[in-house]
Amino acid sequence: MLMPRRVKFRKHHRGQMKGISSGGCSLTFGEYGLKSLEPCWFKAKQIEAARVAISHGIKKGGKLWVKIFPDKCVTKKPAETRMGKGKGAPDHWVAIVKPGRILFELEGMDETFARELMGLAASKLPFKTKFIKRDRSMSSGRRG
């Protein structure tokens, strides 16, 4: 499962998930993508489940990019423990996903097959997503 190799601090604050994604909102590598429509803590386990779902279906050929990384540590106190006595031990890792963020990108297949694969991945996720396709008229940014 994905997790950082080295960190500066063992435990993190909870933080906020306000607003919409300011970066990673457009397709960079592939032809098709899966975009989040809701904010969420995307667990490393869920990322792995979605990745496996796509890569099992991709057998016919194609390339997958995972555009998010779980770099936030979530701690948990053991069961039947009284409150207090400090913050719990690190339990799992999450990626903070805001609306508009591209999660996965695909290339090397036709649209119907890409939609099918992204559908498989989307069913593993705890938030709403939508399938997007690279389109000349849809691109944003400076033109030179």
């Binding site: 601090f9 063992r10 909102c25 057998k59 050929g61 194609g62 000349r136 008229s137 033109r143």
Partner: protein, 235 residues
């Protein structure tokens, strides 16, 4: 190159709140600027702008502002990250005698040999080519025939057929397309019983010394915790 007409109205009120009001009325706020040109804040109809952008962004537009025609190009389109609606548009006034720097889309044609026969994956690395040319010479797109491409082979910018009068600014050794070998699924490893914690980044100063201090601190903390727990149990 054909020119498309687009009507624009000048907007006096600027700022996010006023722009939001403009969007509600079916218009998109924009700005017009250029060389030796004072920026003008304006608004254009959503439907008309969509028609123009759907034809490609590298089109010359005859922008009609207060009964005056100006030759412009779309410089930047800002979109909402979630709904993907156009939020703002920048128009750049161009002179037909001066060269402009622009990005032209690269399109591939045909099915690569490595994909058709060997099951490889065609990966397009460069999707836009930066070129310099006169506004009337801007190519709509640049096509590249990839039917001879085998696994492990790639085409660079050098291979692209560029029309005369167009200067390529992208380095000629940049890869445009490549065919990669099909991915082989690795056997899934059994999940480890205990997930190791990531290593902590120590302070740069006297790494070893800090480590020793930290380990002593940890020991102290642990002993304090034990004492506290024992006290609680007694209570």
């Amino acid at each position: 190159m054909e020119k498309i007409k687009l009507n624009a109205e000048i907007r006096d009120k600027v700022g996010s709140a006023n722009s939001r009001r403009i969007r509600r009325t079916g218009f998109i706020p924009g700005v017009l600027y250029g060389k030796d040109e004072q920026p003008i804040h304006l608004k254009v109809s959503v439907a008309n702008l969509h028609n123009i952008i759907s034809e490609g962004e590298n089109v010359l537009i005859n922008l009609i502002v207060e009964d005056k025609e100006k030759t412009v190009m779309v410089k930047e389109v800002q979109r909402d990250p979630v709904q993907e609606n156009i939020v703002h548009v920048d128009f750049y006034k161009v002179s037909l005698q001066e060269k402009v720097t622009i990005k032209v889309p690269i399109e591939t044609t045909g099915e690569a040999k490595g994909v058709k026969e060997k099951g490889g994956v065609l990966e397009q690395i460069l999707r836009e080519l930066e070129v310099e040319c006169l506004p009337n010479d801007i190519p709509e797109k640049i096509t590249l025939d990839v039917s001879e491409l085998d696994i492990g082979h790639s085409f660079t910018v050098e291979k692209l057929k560029i029309q005369p009068g167009v200067e390529v600014l992208t380095p000629i050794d940049s890869t445009v397309v490549t065919v990669i070998a099909p991915t082989v699924l690795e056997e899934e490893k059994k999940p480890e019983e205990e997930i190791a914690e990531p290593e902590l980044i120590k302070k740069v100063k006297e790494e070893e010394g800090v480590e020793v201090v930290e380990s002593e601190e940890v020991k102290e903390e642990e002993s304090k915790k034990k004492i506290r727990e024992e006290k609680d149990e007694k209570k």
